[in-house]
């Protein structure tokens, strides 16, 4: 086995990134994820041109089921607004919250994890205690409190999601930094007198990137789920039309019309599924050893 695998390894080890890209293209999960995300993006960004209906406008009788009228192919909500128009127009806001919250999460996580893993000692101890503290708070409840105390704008919601979600990224980053900080090339950089700041961001971070990219992809998905959860509880931004808003508004009518919540929920599911699959694909691509399974 050793003999045969090693020759394969040689072929594979030209450029890790190119190799990862190739492996990603071969992973069906990753490609399916990309496909789903493209569909979702086309649907919400190009959709309005083909289906120019105002999602706020009341166009038909309330709670009309899908297929009952041509005016509202996917039915209407409890006020008589077009569900299909809602699905099309609700996407950008949801994606936006997911991205912003995801970026906040990753940024805090990487900062905390990098400093903890690089400086170790007291800094590590202190930062990890804080991380641990944040992991003790049930994230959704904490976010609920934050959003309730402040006005639920799209930015407060994103920030709240970021504040409650960063610990996982921080732990991951820290573990990577601990692993990498003693490798030869880091010592080499140190020996030629590179500053700590340079070692952290230019030497270690680029080498810790693979798992962080996977984590970032998954984080965006989780942030979208989070936003959906908050909206479901009525804590989304009421002024931004999003899938979450549709869900929150329709929540009390599930038994009167299954479609009011199910359909926007399905859009969220599809989007998050896209991100999860891409994350899975990236994970496979970066860890060729695990791919066999």
């Amino acid at each position: 086995m050793a003999v045969i695998e090693s020759s394969q390894d040689i072929v594979q080890s030209q450029s890790p990134w190119r190799e990862a890209a190739r492996a990603f293209r071969q992973s069906w999960a990753g490609m399916l994820g990309i496909f789903i995300l493209i569909l979702v993006i086309l649907f919400t960004f190009v959709g309005p041109f083909f289906y120019p209906v105002d999602p706020f406008e009341i166009i038909w009788a309330p709670l009309t089921p899908p297929g009952a009228t041509e005016r509202a192919p996917l039915g209407t909500d409890y006020l008589g607004r077009d569900i299909l128009a809602g699905l099309i127009h609700g996407g950008p806001a949801t994606l936006y919250v997911g991205l912003v919250a995801g970026i906040i999460t990753i940024t805090i996580g990487i900062l905390v994890g990098a400093f903890a893993g690089f400086y170790r000692g007291m800094v590590d101890e202190f930062l990890m205690r804080i991380t641990e503290f944040f992991q003790v708070l049930p994230a959704l409840l904490f976010a609920m409190v934050l959003v309730t105390l402040f006005t639920p704008t799209i930015y407060v919601v994103s920030l709240a999601i970021g504040i409650v979600s960063w610990p996982t990224t921080a732990r991951l980053t820290r573990a990577e930094f601990l692993r990498i900080r003693n490798l030869e090339y880091v010592n080499a950089a140190r020996s030629i007198g590179a500053k700590n700041r340079r070692i952290i961001w230019r030497v270690i971070l680029p080498n810790a990137l693979a798992p962080l990219i996977v984590a970032a992809t998954l984080t965006v998905g989780i942030a979208i789920l989070f936003e959906a959860g908050l909206s479901f509880l009525g804590l989304g931004d009421p002024n931004m039309f999003s899938w979450g808003l549709m869900i929150g508004a329709g929540r009390e009518y599930i038994l009167d019309g299954w479609w009011v919540v199910t359909l926007p929920g399905f859009m969220i599911f599809l989007t998050v599924l896209g991100f999860s699959l891409v994350g899975d694909g990236l994970n496979d691509a970066f860890n060729p050893k695990l791919r066999e399974r």
Partner: protein, 330 residues
Amino acid sequence: MAAILSIKDLVVDFKTRAGNARVLNEISLELESGEILGIVGESGCGKSMTALSIMGLVPSPPGKITNGSISLDGEDLVQASTARMRQVRGGIISMIFQEPMTSLNPVFRVGDQIAECVLLHEDISKADAWARAVEMLTKVGIPEPEIRARAYPHELSGGMRQRVMIAMALSCRPRILIADEPTTALDVTVQAQIFDLLNDLQRETGTAIIMITHDMGAIAELADRVAVMYAGHIIESGKTEDILTNPQHPYTRGLIACVPHLEENPTEDRPYLSEIKGVVPSLTELGKGCAFAPRCPYKTPICEEERPHIEAVDKTHSVACYNVKYVVAV
């Protein structure tokens, strides 16, 4: 003496991405009761696979025994049912491995791991099985065996763990013990201790041992007979003395020549097989000729045409080489 284990024309194939790898190619071996048979050869030549085949533990897939028989007192183990093989494993044939650090289950007490083996093969109470475990630990020279039996593997050193493995392997008084490079992972001083222990236990119990090793010194000291393997073939076998003093196959001669001062200092300075010029061919790309041909200084045209069969040069000594006479004459 009669052979208790006899392997005939055993073939093991592995399906790999690069094609079919014939890991064992028509190997035949006999093990007589109470003897120590050494198996030597370079890394990857199929020593461990021979052992695993006997145990019925060839990883499958991708591996498979595609031909031949392994008969234990006339019973073919290749055809035996899984239930029967479970009785054989640990009960009649035991095995200890190269990696003592990882061969014990980290979450169970070592005493329990030994006792489990006893419980599997003998109709015995748990308390008695535990007592047997402690007794075995005493036998393999572990101090304070009652206390050590309650230890977990991570609390023991590598040498200790290998002793535990030996204790476990011998706990059901098997008739055959396969020791697959039992000392490779250990310190030199501990290596000597483990070999001495195996030797003593063998004398005491009369268990036949198949000793797989790179350590020619240990072979010289312990083994009654030796089989030399190369790229999935047995290329020479005979009495230890004959093989060491009068090797006939070019590969064996290379091996022996590589070992300095074998006679002078057999125990202290245990030399390893060093490599002979060239590399072992990939098992997926073996030609139809002699596997050693690419590296053989004595090869003649026929060597690359047809594989030489192993043939007796005298009553106890067999070689697979067309040019034995020429080789010996040089």
